[in-house]
């Protein structure tokens, strides 16, 4: 019946880059070879024309692998060229942005399957309204304008009924008395006011404060970028929240089902005499059999929960243990859609079909963790130490209880993180902070899951499938085999254990692998070093236009400007003056710590005032002495090795630091490399405490580097940079191989996000000495006497 009905027909499918649309195209192509033509509605994106998207986003999907294997690549390409064509459609534009030729092609269609939607539950309100609601309305309008009467199959969702109890019938959805046009207009226009709101001084000030605390030392441009990113996120969060709250207020679980419900109203109102079928699948999950068992794309609903369950992240979950969790395999949905498409309603009255498992083969919510426990009991996931993770035992508290628990834990973690990031622990804090960060992410993920999906575990309703079953009953038994969609055909035990959970686990590995390589977008774009730094050096051996730039304090040497100052000043004064001097330094310490956190440049400027009035030549001599006593004792052997590797490779090596010339130049001389450091103004042979030029921190450092590179004909896009602190961020962003050495907590996070190399260099053990000369040394005593 299905194959017969669709024979020679021209079908338009929208949303073919999505999971369901793709599956529909694949099944049609494979199971109904006599179909006339399938038009795929694809929009050209900013990066790719529609034809290329067909190739890259549809045909190269694993869904088509079976067909390719059965036919061979060539025959498949021939088949695709013959049966598939792209129809450029933009659901965001009136008239769908169709050309005349496009309109003619639309007019030739016998069946229109509209499966395009913004399916994420947490989409911004305006996006959901545009795509789901207005998109569907435009679709119907344009079809009617052609004057033809193709069979319109509108894919909706079973949850358009909202949060109601009991049996949900296959008829018009809950109508809270809303006008869909009005809803669409308000929601779609939300972005403007929210954008405006985001620019209000109090909001911007708050965001800027947050940006400063995250990347403050990296300089003004970096902070501006961070503020803008935070603002964009703020806008999105607001829009998501507006959508969610609005949907909840109207009796829906989320913006997705709300806009889909409105879309049904719109489609029903607008369709006129166009035959209309509305198909409402429940939660679509991986396929049972076709094109292969466990075909799934993207992480949707049950997947994150299954994964979180297996990883022990969700120690507990809310919900009604005896409620029905309505999951349906994608191949059953596809078959149902095709069966519906093959039996258009004889009149203008719309028909509704639920594609759901609840009435025929209910999966009770309690079964879900039970099956999970059985599965993970046999094949547990392993933590990073390779130890098996035990599957949790759920007690089903209420959703608000659970959320409150998670929120409390989250608050504690955030407080701990706040504290750790502010303590003057330097690189020592980064492992601790990374752990806290991981814990915080874990909690946030759990909380997100509770908020997003918790409601679905409390849905106390059953979807009636009598209409669909009457279609099923009409199918000849041969087609019941080729196009199965009766949920009673499988057991949940088999589906979960043999198909779905293994699929989720397989895909989660894929997903983590992909996330690692994820690149940031926009102005902060950097290329990640593919493999180890050493092989990058090897690849660029012998190139004199390659620069390797090193920060000094904290990157090559475990010191900071304070310790040098301390050592040099103590060295120059007799033992009895030490306590007074130390007390003065201690008094200033908190202020310096605060400044350092705010901005490296401000700190340096303030600290260098201490040098006011000191004899320049004496400080030079002391700096030279500090080389042996402080610098060389505290260098990182790996850093020294790396510099020499660069030199052996013929690279240009530069030390770029905010430390003073008197202490850095001796090291650079010894290393025989160039150095760019801070100089103090001099007056009558004495230092003044004023800098000759702004301290090279933050964006100033990046500019300095660019200037330097252009002066020496160096190619920064082939260069290396090594640094340890957030204030070096702009510099690291400039080069192709940024290496983060002993990062502080904040830089460690940035490096993790961008996939930069993080190396931990250590002093040779047993070399730490307090930064003070040995008062027993005759050399010291004699020098002080002089």
């Amino acid at each position: 019946m299905i194959a017969e009905a669709l024979k020679g027909k021209t079908i338009l499918v929208t949303g073919t880059t999505g999971f369901l649309g793709k599956s529909i195209v694949e099944k049609t192509l494979r199971a109904i070879p006599e179909v006339g033509r399938i038009n795929l509605a694809i929009r050209s994106s900013a990066r790719r024309p529609a034809a290329e998207r067909l190739e890259r986003e549809v045909l190269s999907s694993p869904a088509f692998k079976r067909l390719k294997d059965e036919l061979g690549e060539e025959a498949f390409a021939r088949l695709a060229a013959e049966k598939l064509s792209v129809l450029e459609i933009d659901l965001g534009a009136d008239g769908l942005g169709l050309t005349d030729a496009g309109r003619a092609e639309l007019a030739r269609c016998d069946i229109v399957i509209h499966s395009a939607a913004a399916v994420e539950f947490d989409n911004p309100a305006d996006l959901s309204a545009q795509t789901n609601l207005l998109g569907a309305a435009r679709m119907v309008n344009t079809v009617r304008e052609t004057g033809k009467r193709p069979h319109l199959v509108h894919i909706s969702t079973a949850y358009v009924g909202g949060l109601i109890r009991g049996l949900v019938r296959e008829e018009m959805p809950l109508d809270p008395g809303l006008n869909w046009r009005h809803e669409a207009a308000v929601l779609a226009a939300l972005r403007g006011p929210v954008e405006e709101e985001s620019r209000r001084p109090e909001v911007l000030r708050k965001l800027r404060r947050e940006a400063r605390s995250r990347v403050g030392p990296a300089g003004t441009p970096a902070m501006a970028r961070a503020t803008e990113r935070l603002r964009e996120k703020w806008v999105k969060d607001r829009l998501v929240e507006r959508g969610r709250v609005h949907a909840n207020a109207m009796g829906f679980s989320d913006i997705y089902s709300f806009t889909k419900a409105m879309a049904e109203h719109a489609v029903v109102e607008l369709h006129g005499d166009v035959p209309l079928s509305i198909v409402r699948p429940s939660i679509i999950e991986s396929s049972l059999d076709e094109p292969f068992p466990g075909w799934l794309e993207g992480f949707r609903m049950a997947e994150p929960i299954i994964l979180a369950f297996g990883r022990g992240i969700l120690q507990d979950f809310s919900g009604l243990p005896d409620s029905v969790l309505d999951i349906i395999p994608v191949d059953f949905v596809v078959n149902a859609v095709l069966a519906v498409a093959a039996s258009p309603p004889p009149d203008a009255k719309p028909r509704f079909y639920h594609v759901a498992s609840g009435s025929r083969n209910p999966l009770r919510y309690r079964q879900f963790p039970e099956i999970g426990r059985e599965y993970f009991g046999e094949k547990p996931l392993r933590d990073r130490y390779g130890q098996a993770i035990g599957a949790p035992n759920w007690t089903y508290p209420t959703r608000s209880e659970l959320a409150a628990r998670a929120r409390t834990a989250l608050r504690f973690t955030e407080a701990a993180q706040w504290l750790v990031e502010r303590l003057p622990l330097g690189a020592g804090a980064s492992p601790l902070s990374d752990n806290l960060n991981a814990e915080r992410e874990r909690l946030e993920r759990g909380l997100g899951l509770i908020q997003l999906y918790g409601v679905y575990t409390e849905v106390d309703c059953i979807f009636d499938t009598r209409h669909l079953m009457s279609v099923w009953d009409k199918l000849p038994s041969a087609e019941q085999k080729t196009f199965p969609f009766d949920p009673a055909l499988y057991t949940w035990d088999h589906y979960m254990k043999d198909v779905h959970i293994p699929t989720v686990l397989r895909m989660s590995r894929q997903e983590t692998a992909a996330r690692r390589g994820k690149q940031p977008t926009g102005s902060t774009l950097v290329k990640t070093a593919g493999d180890s730094v050493r092989s990058a050096i090897e690849r660029r051996t012998g190139r004199s236009d390659v620069l390797a730039v090193f920060d000094v304090d904290g990157t090559l040497v475990e010191t900071n400007v304070v310790e040098y100052f301390l050592w040099m000043r103590l060295r120059a004064q007799p033992l009895e003056d030490w306590p007074a001097f130390m007390a003065e330094m201690l008094r200033e310490a908190p202020r310096w710590l605060y400044l350092e956190r705010r901005s490296r440049a401000e700190f340096q400027r303030s600290f260098y005032r201490q040098y006011d009035g000191l004899d320049y030549e004496v400080m030079r001599r002391l700096g030279r002495e500090a080389l042996n006593a402080v610098t060389l004792r505290r260098v990182y052997p790996e850093g020294m090795r790396r510099i020499r590797e660069h030199k052996r490779a013929g690279h240009h090596v530069l030390l770029l630091t905010g430390a003073l010339d008197v202490v850095v130049e001796p090291l650079a001389e010894l290393l025989e490399v160039e150095v760019d450091c801070a100089h103090l103004l001099e007056k009558d042979g004495r230092m003044t405490g004023d800098l000759q030029s702004p301290p090279p921190a933050g964006e100033a450092r990046a500019t300095l580097l660019e200037e330097y590179a252009s002066r020496h004909g160096l190619v920064l896009s082939e260069s290396f940079a090594y640094a340890d602190s957030l204030s070096d961020l702009p510099m690291l962003e400039l080069v192709s191989t940024p290496v983060v050495v002993n990062p502080d907590a904040r830089l460690s996070q940035v490096a993790g996000q961008r996939g930069w190399r993080v190396e931990r260099w250590r002093m040779a053990p047993g070399n730490w000495r307090p930064p003070m000369p040995d008062p027993r040394s005759p050399e010291y005593r004699e020098a002080v006497r002089r």
Binding site: N628, L632, R634, K647, L671, E672, A764, G766, P778
Partner: protein
């Protein structure tokens, strides 16, 4: 008359035996029937060192009195051994100070004005001001430092000269100032038979080019041992180089020896046999054991390295190098020789906190190998105490610890080279040149206080013979990872180590414990 060294058999009444254990000590019970070799007691020192020095300078061996060699307007250079000798550093005044003060007084009397004092440190690290001052004394230091008292720089292209090749093709280089002097006076202190003689000038004032002629794996494997010059290819090579130097420049050698009174009174239990320990010694031992068990390494190091040895002068000879060195070797052997009968399956020893290359620094793993399998193992004459294929067991904590200033090339040697291989030949072929010519290490050697880039290689080669000769080397109480990196086996206790050794040498092995330091030379018959 001081008591000579002895070999004692462990019986039921033998008290537990002292093992040095880095910056710490342990008492171990050796199996019944084991032998313990004790060094001789310190010889009676010369009562009036100044007089002895005057006498030696006035009546040199095979040479004219020093006074007659000094004349107005001459270019005079004094070269002296660096602080790698003696161990531990000598309590002030250092013998070298006494000798040099005497010589300088003489030179001043003779009207010599152009005097330079050069620390002959070869490829060792430059000493700090304080360390130089300790060797030469305040008077000389304040007069000559820094322009006329300085340290040899084997990497200064302008201050070293190439002298020529020996008959065997060994290249010879020399400090330029020394080469251009009318007279070089070498002031030496000999602690073990390896030191002194021609080796003083041939290595102390040479460059890498000259030193590599004999500091290589082949020569060292041909030295059985380098603690006994007649059997040492190393020394034969040095003698050939030294003779070429003597042909170029007039050298007057002054060699001194000291007794083996290595430990000050607070640590006198280290000096004595366990049977001789007084209640004070036992109390001192207990106190030190408690302290070293709980104190952090840096603190222990501070305590240990502050120890100064109350060495006493036992001989001073001056004149022509061979004549002088014969007398010196006699004096050294007189102090440290112990006759030992026959070889043994297992040799045990405790490695102390100090070796020649870690004054004021931790003994890093590479140096532990050099000290145990190098110096201590090679303290024999004739044959090693250990039989071929026997097992060497030593105790040392073997911490991953390096002095960043003194031993930068050691860190890289450990991290890069030893991670690759421990085979001396392969190391020599694959890595030596790169380290020796690394500009960074050269800079650190010249301007900081770092050992030369090639020095860790020499430290490792020093142990080449023992590593080839012993069937197995087991470290008791060492950090497992470090010990494995060094190519040895790690054991927790001596008992375990002995059990492990039985797999190599069979059941009921014979065991000999070398109770060093103080230093001794086993005369194996």
């Amino acid at each position: 008359m001081a008591r000579p060294g002895a070999v004692i058999e462990v019986d039921r009444n033998t008290p537990p035996t002292l093992f040095h254990y880095g910056e710490g000590v342990r008492l171990e019970r050796l199996p019944l029937g084991s032998r313990i070799v004790y060094p001789p007691d310190p010889l009676e020192p010369i009562a009036h060192p100044e007089r002895a020095i005057k006498r030696a300078l006035g009546k040199p061996l095979d040479d004219d009195p020093l006074k007659s060699l000094l004349r107005r307007g001459m270019k005079l250079t004094l070269a002296f051994d660096d602080l790698s000798l003696p161990l531990p550093p000598m309590a002030a005044p250092d013998v070298r100070q006494l000798v040099m003060e005497e010589v300088i007084d003489m030179a001043a009397e003779a009207g010599v004005e152009d005097i330079h004092l050069i620390a002959a440190l070869g490829l060792h690290r430059r000493m700090t001001q304080d360390e130089v001052r300790h060797i030469v004394g305040d008077r000389i230091f304040s007069t000559f430092w820094p322009d006329r008292l300085y340290q040899h720089d084997g990497e200064d292209p302008d201050e070293n000269v190439y002298i020529g090749k020996t008959a065997q093709g060994e290249e010879v280089t020399l400090n330029k100032r020394a080469a251009e002097s009318d007279l070089v006076i070498y002031v030496n202190l000999t602690l073990v038979p390896m030191d002194g003689g021609h080796k003083s000038m041939a290595t102390g004032l040479a460059t890498y080019r000259g030193i590599r002629a004999h500091h290589n794996v082949k020569t060292l494997l041909g030295s059985r041992s380098y603690m006994n010059p007649p059997d040492s290819a190393l020394h034969h090579s040095c003698i050939r180089q030294g003779q070429l130097i003597e042909d170029t420049v007039r050298v007057f050698h002054i060699e001194t020896t000291v007794n083996n009174h290595a430990f000050p009174s607070i640590a006198s239990f280290m000096q004595k046999r366990e049977t001789d320990w007084t209640p004070q010694d036992q109390a001192m031992f207990l106190a030190m054991k408690q302290m070293t068990d709980i104190a952090p390494p840096a603190f222990k190091r501070g305590v240990f390295h502050a120890m100064r040895a109350p060495y006493g002068l036992t001989s001073v000879n001056a004149g022509q190098v061979d004549a002088v060195h014969d007398k010196t070797l006699d004096a050294v052997r007189n102090q440290i020789s112990v006759p030992v009968e026959g070889q043994t399956d297992i040799v045990t020893m405790g490695v102390p906190y100090l070796g020649p290359y870690n004054i004021n620094a931790p003994m890093n793993p590479v140096l532990v190998v050099c000290m145990a399998a190098g110096y201590l193992f090679n303290l024999y004459r004739g044959k090693p105490v250990l039989r071929e294929g026997g097992v060497l067991i030593f105790e040392h904590p073997c911490r991953y610890e390096f002095d960043a200033v003194q031993h930068p090339s050691y860190i890289d040697f450990y991290d890069e080279v030893l991670a690759d291989t421990t085979d001396p030949f392969e190391i020599e072929k694959k890595y030596e040149q790169r380290f020796a010519e690394d500009p960074w290490f050269i800079q650190l050697y010249r301007k900081s206080n770092a050992y030369h880039g090639v020095h860790p290689f020499y430290a490792h080669y020093w142990a080449a013979f023992a590593m080839q000769y012993a069937g197995d080397i087991i470290v008791v109480g060492g950090e497992r990872e470090v010990v494995h990196r060094l190519g040895f086996k790690a054991a927790t206790t001596l008992e375990d180590a002995l059990e492990m050794a039985e797999q190599t040498v069979g059941r009921h092995p014979s065991i000999t414990h070398l109770r060093v330091p103080p230093i001794m030379l086993c005369d194996v018959q």
